[in-house]
């Protein structure tokens, strides 16, 4: 296992917990990996903290510095989206060179609940509401059912420290507003922490979604034809399927050309409008969608697109 570490409480606790668990559980932690985002004044301090921790626990640490702001600007991505892409690409490379078969990252129940609410208010659709996956490809998230509060209590009990991300206090950032204002208000309303219930809802949506995805994938393969221009789906056959399946087939079709950009509910609804002829055509990330002679056609667009 390679552990991605920012220096914050979650990833420091993850590192120490995995080192403890490895002794008895037939796996080993081979390296840490820290990405210096160059976004904050404290980036150098965070990097130094992680290097010291690695030295103290006797692990190598891979460190890379990337100008995330520049990366985001060049690709017209949000800063959060850009940071996520750069981070996982780096962790994948670091895992390969360290010989790790898993990359552990420190997402907690708190992150899960925050992500759910952020996706909910942005209308991201059900794929988004499924939230953060406990496992996806190489990446594992062993702390996804654990609260940040418990992890900090664990670190405090061991006499360990961590670095505080000073941008956490910036309530202009939507995630911080959800963390510091919205979730505490929900907690006050419920009279208890609502994070476990929200994380559980995300897990249920994900579980239902995975089954529906499985049922839908087969239909996508049967309905969609790859053409030189892009992708074609017979409109009449598609419209005859149940609505949850139609949505998922359209999502899958759009993802093929989206190059990792997020396909939202608005995109799906726009294409549904093309399908039922209430709209002539629509641009979605990576493609132009039109109805041509009974076929829904997704024409791949060249160059940097919206």
């Amino acid at each position: 296992v390679l552990v991605g570490i920012s220096g914050g409480s979650d990833s420091v606790a993850l590192t120490l917990l995995l080192l403890d668990l490895a002794e008895y559980n037939g796996f080993s932690v081979v390296s840490l990996a820290h990405l210096n985002h160059q976004l904050r004044l404290s980036a150098a301090r965070d990097e130094a903290f992680c290097r010291e921790l690695a030295a103290r626990v006797g692990l190598p640490i891979a460190v890379e510095a990337v100008d995330v702001r520049e990366y985001a600007a060049a690709r017209r991505l949000s800063l959060e989206d850009a940071a996520r892409r750069v981070r996982y690409a780096f962790l994948g490379r670091a895992a390969a060179s360290a010989g790790a078969t898993r990359v552990a990252v420190g997402h907690t129940e708190d992150d899960q609940a925050e992500t759910f609410l952020l996706k909910l208010m942005r209308g991201a659709g059900l794929a988004g509401l499924g939230g953060i996956y406990p496992r996806r490809g190489l990446v594992i998230r062993p702390l996804l059912d654990v609260s940040r509060e418990d992890l900090r209590a664990y670190l405090a009990a061991r006499g360990e420290t961590w670095v505080e991300d000073e941008t956490n206090a910036d309530v202009e950032n939507p995630r911080n507003r959800v963390r510091h204002i919205v979730l505490p208000e929900l907690d006050r309303t419920a009279g208890a922490s609502t994070r476990p219930a929200i994380a559980r809802a995300a897990a249920l949506v994900r579980e239902d979604g995975q089954w529906l995805d499985e049922l839908s994938r087969e239909r996508f393969e049967a309905l969609a034809a790859i053409t030189p221009a892009g992708l074609e789906i017979d409109a009449t056959s598609l419209a005859a399927e149940p609505a949850p399946l139609v949505r998922r087939v359209l999502l899958e079709a759009m993802r093929q050309a989206a190059d990792g950009r997020e396909i939202g509910l608005d995109h799906i609804e726009a294409v549904l409008a093309v399908l039922d002829r209430s709209r002539g055509g629509v641009d979605v990330p990576g493609s132009r969608v039109e109805l041509r002679r009974g076929k829904l056609v997704l024409v791949r667009q060249k160059g940097p697109s919206k």
Copy 2:
């Protein structure tokens, strides 16, 4: 159509809109119906307001007074749950005696978003997250995609008034906290109203859920046997099904004895623990669930239960 009316802005707008629409749309509004909950000091004022409106628009109005507090206490229900049951039972009777084939009620996009967040924080599971149904049995909710703000603007433009529910200001009430504190904070975070996105998420969860329910109903019929004591399900066959189906079969089984009481996620998880033998037995609303000789058995409990 019979219209349920409280005297609040939503149901007043619903009444006037339906009367307008009826002229051109091949249906007619035959009566109003007002339930006096006897819960508030203003109950008599609300009833008088509704009677006056009915007289002014030339419609009969059915009025019934029920002591909801007593009804709730006798059946160990929450006040909100008791009020809901008493209201829909009354509306059903009123529709039958008025010869109405539909009962229209004034739930809005705001109610939908509030219900979603309340269910979310209470861990109600996916059936709850589906929120308020646009149509169920006789009941129709034509305003479920319309915001309260738009309805009030409509009433103001027509010079119409409504009664304010003074308990709306009581922030000890969870729904009011969600309405007046949590949702406005989410809106500030998103920079726009989040109610449309939340109502849309509820609709998607409902759509997915309805398809999964359909796929699961068939399995429930095949797996569950009604016995004199209650209900039996073969444990091995059930455990072999995909998780979303297992959850729904258990939900359906528990509902059979729950007499309308809500089955929550906690109940489903408790029975899952019985199914995988990590728990001996469990009491759920209306039944005792145990594993007996390879069968999951739900024994119906007599008398007022939890």
